[in-house]
Amino acid sequence: MSSDTLTIADRTFRSRLIVGTGKYPSHRIMADAHRASGTEMVTVAVRRVNLAERGAESLLGSIDQSRIFILPNTAGCYTAEDAIRAARLGREVGLSNWVKLEVIGDERTLFPDNVALLEATRVLVREGFVVLPYTNDDPIVCRKLEEAGAAAVMPLGAPIGSGLGIQNRNNMLIIREQARVPVIIDAGVGTASDAAIAMELGADGVLMNTAIAQASDPVAMAQAMKLAVEAGRLAYRAGRIERRMYASASSPAQGTVPALSTTLSSAGGRAQ
């Protein structure tokens, strides 16, 4: 098959797997996992510098920026104003004008507040940001985000960190069918098959953090996710068969050796 890259706004990626930088056992394991995943884009959070505990190992020092693009998020923001503020600060660190926009609506589910998300998307697009909003698996909200200028839409497969897999496959198919921007399934992946399913549904990419970072062996899981995303994508492009209710024999029906029961009755006894 021809080369198959993912283009979001003005950037093209060979890998369709976007990975987080949180919750790893160490920076070293994170760096190894990033390498094993083949990722070319990782998310980071914007937080106050810890003034009491200076000299901690810098996160950026553990990200290979020659291969990996850094996508700041607005995690932990519960209003449009806070998310806009975090996005502006993230941009000022000076790596890019991209933002993974999160406006959280509820602490227990971490589901997005889509009204505030839409509002923040409009403001940030006007300010020249490349906005990748984390949203519900809701085709209408995804369409409105696209109309507001989002560079991609990132519907959740399941709650963040839940590992439940893609909960509403039908909505994902509808979102993919109507979207004219890339669809990145963000959150909810638990294991490799979930990532493969996301890609088989037609997602342009998958974003995950916990599934890799909290696996017993994050580096091995990162490799599993790389293979799953590639396999799922290839299967999607290859075009799967239709589902059917009954069997359809794989071997020809003609030219079969006569059934044993027939042989026995015509020979009148046990064949030698």
């Binding site: 106050r48 003034l51 996160l59 995690a75 000022e92």
Partner: protein, 66 residues
């Protein structure tokens, strides 16, 4: 005089620039972003913006996240 840095009160001798504050705190300006009274300050302006009594400074960096 007292200013607030990342929500904590901090005593400084007199008005200082953001550059000087970062230097005093041993923070590499290339790894952070700074807000002065809720306004994001461009890195090129760190030497020009003066912090006065009662000002609120936020200094942020990137940490692990999803």
């Amino acid at each position: 005089m007292t200013i607030r840095v990342n929500g904590e009160p901090q005593e400084i001798a007199g008005p200082i620039t953001i550059s000087t504050l970062l230097e005093d705190l041993k923070i590499d300006p290339r790894l952070v972003a700074v807000e002065h009274n809720l306004i994001v300050v461009k890195r090129a302006q760190y030497g020009a913006v003066t912090i006065n009594e009662g000002d609120e400074i936020e200094i942020v960096n990137f940490v692990g996240g999803g």
